[in-house]
């Protein structure tokens, strides 16, 4: 233990610095909730001059929580915590080990008069009375006999002295876990349509897609709704493949992620896409009606062999007028293309002239046929969040340590009781002292109780 510590050491071991740093971090976090961050920063761009915006952007004002400034504060806090703990640990250790003896009876130095008893008893008798009292209250005690003095010492909750160090250590572990996560981790998302397979995901930061060491197939997606239409549950049946080998299969639900090779898959969202299949009704002028199931991209022959038609596009909701598909019909003479709406009757009701105004919306453009869209098959896609964070177990350990440490600090307290018995000419003098780093009121009460009991005992035994 060196007495004169260097300036840097005392700077970093000071609690003032800790208070300043904690306040600064809180202030930083506060600013970050007021100024739009990351993607949202675009809102600000319109309000201030481009020069100022790019300056602030360079200073990482719009990504505060990942900025150099924030890391700097965290780094300072780490050093502060480390040095402060190292600085104080020897003292805590000494407190932990402290046993009174004639060498260090300074604990009794300012023992007030009301904490001592004078009694007409001999030393052994008094010591035994004190010992049995301590045994009753604390079960274990230590007795040191010297020439004309006896020291007794008992304690409880000695380990709670280290609670604070556990708390502070947990903060260091937490910071380590966060760093591991930000260096080695990644966050990405991917949408997979039912039946499709992907082998790469899109990172949240950066535009390049990231290949996975396996591929993922969405076999099925199901969603269950409440009566109100809000989703109750949704789930994807996923298959993970390597080459053509199935490595893992499972159902993915919200709040129940799947983990594979360090990647965790989360059910995040879903949506519908046209499934590439549609049912068309073809009505001819003479009243004959044919139903044809069609798929995008293929060519189909017209029932009367006048030519062929192709499906060019399929829209779930074209211009807010419902499902529609775009058809091109080719014959020897001509080639026409037009949209076929499912709800053409409804559209005509609200807008009777639409076919005159927009000829391409006329489903009867190729005579003698009138096309009708009977139905469009939809497919779901599942939105997955994919993340890999090797720091998570470290952070979890830190959280556990933090909670245990806080319990140690705040729900238990250490208390040490010392009794010194001196042989005097006319009897013995008993001094009782105690120490508690928390709960001083409790200690006072305890000392009073011990003194009263001891007095009582000695008087009775006379």
């Amino acid at each position: 233990m060196t007495k004169n510590k260097s300036g840097i050491w005392s700077f970093f071991s000071s609690v003032q610095l800790a208070i300043v740093l904690l306040s600064l971090i809180a202030f930083f976090a506060l600013i970050g909730t007021l100024v739009p961050q990351r993607e949202a920063a675009a809102e600000v761009a319109g309000l201030i001059s481009p020069g100022l915006f790019s300056l602030l952007d360079k200073m990482q004002f719009f990504d505060l929580y990942h900025s150099v400034w924030f890391f700097l504060l965290m780094g300072l806090l780490t050093v502060n915590l480390l040095i402060c703990s190292l600085d104080r640990l020897p003292m805590a250790w000494r407190r932990f080990r402290m046993r009174p003896s004639s060498q260090n009876d300074d604990v009794f130095k300012d023992c007030p008069e009301e904490n001592s008893i004078r009694a007409r008893a001999d030393m052994v008798q008094a010591a035994n009375a004190a010992a049995s009292l301590l045994k009753k209250r604390y079960r274990k005690f230590i007795r040191t006999n010297e020439a004309d003095q006896v020291f007794l010492c008992a304690d409880k909750g000695r380990f709670s002295l280290f609670g604070v160090y556990v708390v502070h250590l947990s903060i260091l572990v937490l910071i380590a876990g966060v760093i591991i996560g930000s260096v080695f981790g990644m966050e990405a998302y991917v949408n997979i349509t039912e039946g499709e397979t992907v082998n790469a995901v899109n990172p949240r930061r950066g535009s390049q897609s990231l290949p996975l060491p396996f591929s993922v197939r969405c076999d099925k997606f199901t969603v269950e709704l409440y009566e109100s239409g809000a989703p109750k549950t949704f789930q994807s049946d996923l298959t993970f493949l390597k080459g053509n080998q199935i490595v893992q299969q499972g159902k993915l639900l919200v709040n129940h992620p799947i983990e594979i090779e360090g990647f965790r898959f989360y059910q995040a969202s879903y949506g519908a896409v046209p499934g590439g299949k549609a049912t068309l009704a073809l009505l001819r002028a003479d009243g004959r009606r044919d139903i044809i199931n069609v798929g995008a991209g293929y060519a189909f022959e017209l029932p009367g062999k006048e030519g062929t038609f192709n499906i060019l596009r399929m829209e779930e909701n074209l211009m807010k007028m419902g499902p529609a598909i775009k058809v091109v019909v080719r014959s020897k003479k001509e080639e026409v293309s037009f949209w076929v709406f499912q709800q053409i009757d409804k559209i005509k009701q609200t807008n009777p002239d639409i076919i005159q105004q927009v000829p391409i919306f006329n489903p009867g453009l190729f005579r003698p046929y009138t096309f009708t869209l009977v139905g469009l098959e939809e497919k779901y896609f599942t939105g997955l969040q994919v993340s890999r964070d090797p720091g998570t177990p470290v952070v979890a350990a830190a959280a556990l340590l933090l909670i245990c440490g806080l319990m140690m600090v705040l729900f238990s307290y250490s208390r040490q009781i010392w009794i010194r018995i001196d042989q005097k000419k006319e009897g013995v003098r008993i001094c009782i002292a105690g120490r508690s780093y928390r709960n001083k009121t409790g200690l006072e009460r305890e000392l009073q109780y011990l003194i009263a009991e001891l007095k009582d005992n000695l008087e009775k035994s006379k």
Binding site: V15, L410, F411
Partner: protein, 281 residues
């Protein structure tokens, strides 16, 4: 629904309890204090029954979740934890003078839940992300923490009232004389803040675990998360300034009030910022 009817009655019961505590402080008769305590206890029991009924009803409706899922339910639970914590403290400390500052807070929260426009008191189904036991433990621990901070705040206000009245106890009114001593209030403020700190820590940890399962990352700097961190840091500073710098009394009272302002912002203010946690959608 029966549970909301009971809850609106509980609002008046808490108000009555506040009035009785006030009578005790002014008239100095312990009769009023006892009446206030029993009234508050009756309110707490009725509120617990209402919460259980609400819980059961949600199962009968096929939704099956603890009554902690929307803004209305969170307000009700907040008031419940405040009264519970206060009554426990009163019982442990054998001191009734804090009630006159705590009960009005519980009453105001209940009243706000019942009458503020735009607060929906129906039992609603949960969207998938909220269907998690971690949500229940998250909300439970957070509000335990908030309740402890609320009591610390009430003590902070009491401290200032006592100080403003001056130290000369012979001149000050009966009300002031019946407040606990400044030393006692300081100690209690610290105990409440420390208790709240543990619960807030538990709340942040359980929230992170939940986020880890639901969204794939334990921390995403969402405004509500960030504000709970700010609140946590403020109380960490409060504990340090007291323990290591020896701040007491007035400064602790200021910290308790600032901390409570952060709690309120975490709970209500961030709803005006876009967030995953928003109750008000």
């Amino acid at each position: 629904m029966i549970n909301t009817t009971i809850l609106s009655w509980v609002t008046f019961v808490y108000f009555a309890s506040f009035v009785f505590y006030l009578f005790r402080m002014i008239l100095g008769r312990e009769f009023w204090g006892k009446l206030a305590t029993w009234t508050a206890l009756a309110g707490l029991v009725a509120q617990s029954v209402a919460l259980i009924i609400r819980w059961k009803t949600s199962y009968d409706l096929g939704m099956g979740h603890a009554p902690l899922s929307n803004f209305y339910e969170s307000l009700i639970f907040f008031a419940w934890t405040i009264v519970l914590l206060y009554l426990l403290m009163e019982w442990r400390l054998k001191n009734r003078s804090i009630g006159v500052f705590v009960m009005p807070v519980a009453f105001l929260i209940m009243a706000y839940a019942s009458i503020a426009p735009g607060i929906n008191n129906r039992i609603e189904p949960l969207i998938p992300a909220l269907q998690s036991n971690w949500l229940t433990s998250h909300v439970l621990t957070c509000f335990m923490g908030y309740a402890a901070f609320t009591v610390a705040f009430a003590l902070g206000i009491m401290f200032f009232i006592k100080q403003a009245a001056g130290n000369d106890s012979s001149k000050s009114g009966a009300f002031i004389r019946r407040l606990p001593s400044e030393y006692q209030m300081d100690e209690l403020m610290y105990s409440c803040a420390a208790l709240g700190f543990i619960f807030l820590t538990l709340g942040i940890v359980t929230g992170s675990v939940w986020a880890h399962y639901a969204w794939g990352s334990y921390w995403s700097w969402d405004p509500k998360e960030t504000w709970s961190l700010i609140t946590w840091l403020v109380y960490a500073v409060m504990l340090h300034t007291r323990l290591v710098r020896g701040w007491r009394g007035r400064r602790m009272a200021i910290m308790a009030i600032v901390g409570f302002a952060c709690v309120l912002f975490t709970y209500l203010g961030v709803n005006f910022l876009p967030s995953l946690h928003s109750y008000m959608t």
